[in-house]
């Protein structure tokens, strides 16, 4: 009985104390925000198979941010999309971050990888100036986009400008050995959330601003690991990827607006290994074959927005052009040379809301989706997208 009373008293004191403390440190140490983005649109595709017109989108990506004190941060993004009329929910990222000191933070969980800048910084639909990703990113891409692991990152002043850096370790990619899809033997699969081996992939990026007004950034990244299954013949296969990125954004009075140039080059080399040909390829390939497993992709994009013009309508317009190219290994069953040329005219309703009208020409030679002897394949797409960040 007495015990109970003491406990109650203690509880009351604690609660009161807690309240008083809360009142003292006013704005509160914990902050929670929900942000996110979504888009809707129409794609009008034209290729050798005919024409396809579809409303697309209905993607909804809420982002949860939680800040505790000045040093602790949690961010998570969910992605809701409809795939063949089924709702699919993806976890884009979810990570905890702690500020170690002025120059270093540590992150753990699932995060977007700073392999170049496109996936980490430029892919959300309200940031990406065009409605599609450059070749080499996303589905069937050669650049990794996210991983589960730990990361040290930060930024520091150096000689009047700054550098930024990141070093991380993740579960790393797996190697498609062709046992499930013979056509894809030798490809790296970056969606690897349960590790298939003890080896962890290591990667990093350094970014540098050569000009003191921070208008230009040059970055170099690498990512390396052993993708083969433990105990398999692919156990000792190694992969080494590197990327270079470039960004230049500057308001130029003579042009009466903002000029934005972005570029990234990705290079992927997987060491040689022998793969087994599938039933269909037995006529053209020996049972066991190999090839130089080298892929590369790059894009360059230029956009201009006449933000200094008087006219409210004109200053919200933006013109964009992008070229991208993807080459996959010669001699593999997924060998292809693809290039893309896109143009866009955007209208910015607010800083995070845009209507994009884009047209893109894609040209492919070879490729694992191509019918035998298809030669050159062309597809043109008109995108009309409405994207919002909220």
């Amino acid at each position: 009985m007495i015990m109970k009373k003491v406990l109650l008293l203690l509880l009351a004191v604690l609660l009161l104390g807690g309240n008083m403390m809360a009142q003292e440190s006013k704005p509160g140490k914990t902050q929670f925000m929900v942000r996110g983005y979504g888009f809707a649109g129409l794609n009008y595709l034209n290729n050798a198979d005919g024409t396809d017109v579809s409303y697309v989108g209905s993607a909804f990506a809420p982002i949860f941010m939680f800040k505790q004190g000045d040093r602790f941060f949690f961010e998570a993004e969910l992605e809701f999309v409809l795939e063949k009329n089924q709702l699919e929910i993806g976890l884009e990222y979810a990570n905890l971050m702690y500020v170690l000191n002025k120059y270093l933070m540590v992150r753990a969980g699932k995060f977007l990888l700073p392999f170049g800048t496109f996936m980490e910084r430029l892919h959300p639909s309200w940031i990406n100036r065009l409605s599609s990703k450059p070749l080499g990113f996303g589905h069937d891409g050669i650049a990794p986009s996210s991983g589960i692991g730990v990361e040290l990152r930060g930024s520091a002043p150096i000689g009047g400008t700054t550098i930024n850096y990141s070093l991380y370790m993740t579960n790393g990619p797996t190697l498609k050995d062709g046992s499930v899809e013979p056509d894809e033997a030798g490809m790296l699969n970056f969606e690897n959330y349960i590790d298939n081996n003890i080896n962890k992939a290591v990667g990093g990026r350094v970014g540098f601003f050569p000009l003191h007004n921070n208008s230009m950034e040059i970055g170099a990244s690498f990512f390396t690991g052993k993708p083969g299954d433990k105990g398999s013949v692919y156990e000792d296969v190694t992969s080494f990827l590197w990327a270079l990125d470039f960004s230049y954004v500057q308001q130029i009075s003579a042009l009466k607006g903002v000029l934005d140039i972005k570029a990234q080059y990705n290079h992927s080399q997987v060491s040689d290994a022998f793969y087994t040909a599938g039933e269909e390829e037995r006529d053209t390939l020996p049972d066991s074959y190999t090839f130089n497993n080298l892929s590369s992709a790059y894009y360059g994009q230029i956009s201009y927005r006449p933000s200094m013009l008087e006219s409210k309508f004109l200053k919200n317009l933006e013109l964009i052009a992008r070229y991208s190219q993807l080459s996959t290994p010669e001699g593999s069953l997924w060998e292809a040379e693809t290039n893309e040329l896109s143009f866009g005219l955007n209208y910015w309703i607010t800083w995070r809301q845009v209507i994009k009208v884009n047209y893109s020409f894609i040209n492919t030679e070879g490729g694992h989706d191509a019918p035998e002897g298809a030669g050159n394949q062309k597809s043109n797409t008109l995108f009309v997208h409405w994207a919002i960040g909220f």
Binding site: E75, K102, R107, R121, S155, P157, G159, G160, W351, R352
Partner: protein, 90 residues
Amino acid sequence: MKKLIIMGLLAFSFVSLGILTTGCTTQREIAAQKSGAELWAQNCIRCHNIPSPPSYTDVEWETIGLHMEMRANMTSEQITKIVEFLQAAN
């Protein structure tokens, strides 16, 4: 094509490093003197359009500041100055 891009980028970095190291002290002074408004105008436009101060409340700017310090890899000095500017001007 690839080699050209790489060589171009390398050459460029060397030249800029050269410019940097010769003009080091003055540039460092310029950097240290930059105001929050200046840093905001120069940096918050690099990836997406620039958000104006009234877009968010004081408390929200703090959360966004830390988010961008992490995501955009900016220095804590830059972010502190920018957040102070945004909170004063919203």
